[in-house]
């Protein structure tokens, strides 16, 4: 089942896939059972000469048990599904592990601005680095996103990392992920945002730790000399 999904490359993606699989087996069982019983009844209880239908109203408790017992089992399974899903939701969306790098993402019709703090380590300073539709992160580190929009609602979607978060104008929404495997993965917009919506595509590059260091060197070479200095603009 999980093989059909896009390859998972985030720390929490496996948890989401597991909840999917749990639900898949539970509802798959019920689906086959109900369809099977339905099909059996359709084939078995056809009109036959000299065989009248049974007069059953299903209003006695003994009969209603056929409805209520399955309903009770479904209720118990529902509780199980939520018990499994709740902590996963909390891990992805409510908690935010400390440490790692921070990246600002701004959606606009029809591009993603990806902003790094630059050599001084502070955002909204002159040396910020903004890339178009290109995000670079180190493998195995928490990446904290601050998501904003300049115009309409977009949705920042990383299918391989199982992360989706709508991006709203007028608000900053946070999200995080931790990539487990270096490589290039697509960034998609998952909320209809206008005629260019289908083309609002970006690329996430997950670097090995070394590669990421090299990439940082290339893009803000001032890192070494500015690392101990006071942030520009303060």
């Amino acid at each position: 089942m999980q093989k059909w999904f896009p390859e998972n490359v985030s720390t929490f993606g496996g948890d989401i896939d597991s909840v999917f699989t749990l639900i898949y087996y539970i509802v798959g069982f019920w689906f086959l059972l109900t369809e099977g019983v339905l099909l059996y009844f359709v084939l078995r209880y056809r009109k036959r000469a000299g065989q009248p239908a049974k007069y059953v109203r299903g209003d006695r408790w003994s009969e209603l048990a056929w409805l209520l017992v399955p309903a009770a089992i479904v209720l118990a399974l529902d509780v199980g599904i939520e018990a499994a899903g709740g902590p996963v939701w909390a891990r992805v969306k409510e908690q935010s592990p400390a440490g790692g790098v921070e990246v600002w993402v701004t959606g606009k019709q029809f591009n993603w601005d990806i902003t790094y703090p630059g050599p001084d380590g502070h955002f909204e300073t002159a040396d910020d680095l903004t890339l178009l539709n290109e995000m670079h992160v180190p493998v195995g580190q928490n990446v904290h996103l601050v998501l904003r929009s300049k115009d309409v609602i977009h949705s920042f979607f990383l299918p391989h990392l199982r992360l989706k978060q709508d991006v709203l104008p007028g608000r900053s929404v946070t999200a995080w992920f931790n990539a487990t495997k270096p490589g290039q993965y697509e960034i998609a917009c998952a909320e209809l945002c206008g005629f260019g919506h289908y083309n609002m595509r970006g690329v996430l590059t997950v670097h090995t730790t070394e590669d990421y260091g090299r990439w940082v060197q290339e893009h803000w070479p001032a890192t070494t000399e500015a690392s101990g200095a006071t942030p520009a603009g303060s």
């Binding site: 059909w4 239908a53 939701w89």
Partner: protein
């Protein structure tokens, strides 16, 4: 429980039906005429909605190629038969809007609700016949405004059928100007129409019941419409307010939903979905109602667990008011809100399990025959089950992070709405056609139609679950811009071919409908040997419905009662009456 309608009913009966084009058709206040007009309007809009689906599906399978047969559409809407991105967004918007508000509601509530409820409760007409007339023409106006949006500069609305602000709130974002305003006006009028319709259905079903028709002797279809009407009336207010606010944002520059002017886009989503989820049941329940009427008649058995179904329906309806944020798990609402809404959402499975199992249990021990209406009813039931269980995935907040706004959602809601609206509605059409027009439909054509429809539908939408699980976003003009979606082209091609088969599969229906209208076998009063009151009068029923006001003596589904001579006991036949049985 005695009916108040008796006096009015007899006064209606004293008058002959008004005749002629104006009094007998355009301004007729007869619920049966109005019901048939709703039927015509919804079937016409279904063709338009189907056409949008055809264009969407072609573009998804073979992007930016000329759609066969569509070269006549002028620029800048289409270019030599090619759908441009702007028009694609308009298509998905119009498809959703048309199918939900201008097909599902007029078909199930307008046509069947209007035609059947007065007959089923034993009334001469709706409680407010003139309001009924007004609600139809209001809907007609709304439909015209909506379709007019195709022809204004800037084109049809393109912000999705959910109309999320600020994309919908300002022409600079979507490029659509008057199309969007017309969309809002059309929706507001549509809601006004169904508010009138809902009041009429409620009043008729509560106040116009024939003597002896207690609430628990009502056919379940009436219960479904009662619940749907209450849900609609309680939920539509916030959305009408939202629509007016959005219209003001667009026209006079208020900023209810525009952050740059001090508003909040999430407010629109709350207003929309607070209505949106009950609305799902407003459509679903009347579809269930049709299935519930048909199953006992052809299984020759009472429905299993009548009261359990009624209570489950009410429970599901009540729950539908506290689940709306499941559409908004990843919208940017406080993350702590998600789990409570996830729990209420998944709890809805409990009343639905009871309803579905009751339908299945009705078949057990039956002596069932499967003419076309029964095929469609059981087909709808079997199809709906997949729509129901896939809702659990989306109801789980954790899984929804990945599946939200993917084709998994698209497949899921088509698996719920297609069975209830289309398969259920067609079951109803085949079943009540004899009552509406006095003639039977052709069985062979009906069966051909059924098998093509159900096989083709599953071939269209089953693969889309798989596309969704690959992360395929919905509302994407050209999916193959994305590397990870490129391998999915064969899935789209398969679904598109199946969709074309599905469209062509409706030819037998159209042929059958018109052929039967003029040349079908005469139906007689009660061709299916059914118990409910609509069968206790001629086909089609006269003006005023019943020559003699019916009196109700028993429950609606008394089939195969032990000791009875016949295997059915109509509601209106007194014990010891002509069709009554001699019990031991």
């Amino acid at each position: 429980m005695s009916a108040t309608g008796k006096g009015e009913a007899s006064s209606v009966r004293e008058h002959a039906a008004p005749e002629g084009f104006w009094r007998g058709c355009v301004f007729s206040v007869d619920h049966k005429t109005i019901g048939k007009q709703y039927l015509s309007l919804s079937l016409f809009m279904m063709v338009v909605g189907g056409l949008t689906a055809y264009l969407i599906r072609w573009q998804l399978a073979w992007p930016e190629t000329a759609v066969p047969g569509m070269r006549w559409v002028p620029e800048p809407t289409m270019f030599e038969g090619v759908v441009p991105p702007e028009f694609y967004n308009a298509l998905v918007t119009m498809h959703g809007t048309i199918m939900l508000f201008f097909v599902a509601m007029p078909f199930l509530l307008g046509a069947f609700g209007n035609f059947l409820i007065p007959l089923m409760v034993g009334a001469a007409d709706m409680a407010f016949p003139r309001v009924n007339r007004l609600s139809f023409w209001t809907l007609f106006t709304a439909s015209s405004l909506l379709l007019a949006s195709f022809f204004v500069p800037g084109g049809a609305p393109a912000a999705g059928w959910t109309g999320y602000a600020p994309l919908s709130a300002d022409a600079q974002y979507s490029g659509v100007d008057w199309g969007m305003n017309l969309w809002l006006l059309a929706l507001a009028l549509e809601f006004a129409s169904f508010v009138m319709g809902g009041v009429n259905i409620l009043t008729t079903a509560i106040n116009m019941r024939a003597p002896g028709m207690t609430f628990f002797r009502l056919p379940l279809l009436v219960w479904m419409h009662l619940t749907a009407a209450v849900l609609f009336l309680l939920s539509v207010g916030p959305l009408v307010a939202g629509a007016v606010m959005l219209l003001l944002d667009r026209t006079i520059g208020t900023g209810f939903f525009v952050p740059a002017r001090g508003g909040d886009p999430l407010l629109w989503q709350h207003l929309f979905w607070f209505f949106g989820h009950p609305e799902v049941y407003v459509i679903l329940l009347p579809g269930f109602g049709i299935i519930l009427e048909i199953l006992p008649v052809f299984a020759r058995k009472p429905i299993f667990g009548y009261r359990a179904i009624v209570y489950s329906t009410i429970a599901a309806g009540a729950l539908s008011f506290i689940v709306w944020a499941h559409h908004m798990f990843v919208s940017g609402i406080d993350a702590r809100l998600a789990m409570p809404f996830s729990v209420t959402t998944i709890l809805i499975s409990v009343p639905f399990v009871i309803m579905i199992l009751a339908m299945i249990a009705t078949l057990r021990g039956g002596a069932a025959s499967y003419p076309t209406p029964m095929l469609f009813a059981v087909g709808a039931l079997a199809t709906f089950i997949l729509g129901g269980v896939t809702g659990i995935f989306l109801g789980s907040a954790a899984v929804d992070i990945f599946l939200h706004d993917t084709y998994f959602v698209v497949a899921h809601f088509h698996y719920t709405l297609f069975p209830s609206v289309f398969l259920g509605g067609l079951a109803g059409l085949y079943y009540w056609f004899p009552k509406m027009f006095g003639r039977m439909m052709n069985e062979t054509l009906g069966k051909i139609h059924f098998w093509i429809t159900i096989v083709a539908f599953n071939c269209v939408f089953l693969p889309l679950f798989a596309a969704g699980m690959r992360g395929h976003m919905r509302r994407i003009y050209d999916p193959y811009q994305y590397e990870f979606l490129k391998p999915l082209q064969p899935i789209h091609a398969f679904a598109t071919v199946a969709a074309i088969v599905l469209f062509l599969g409706q030819v037998p229906l159209i042929a059958n409908f018109f052929w039967s209208l003029f040349a079908g076998r005469r139906a007689g009063e009660n061709p299916w040997r059914a118990n409910t009151l609509e069968w206790a009068t001629s086909s089609p029923p006269p003006h005023g419905n019943f020559v003699e006001a019916p009196v109700v003596h028993r429950d609606p589904y008394e089939y195969s009662v032990p000791g009875a001579v016949e295997d059915w006991l109509p509601q209106h036949v007194p014990a010891g009456g002509t069709q009554e049985t001699r019990r031991e």
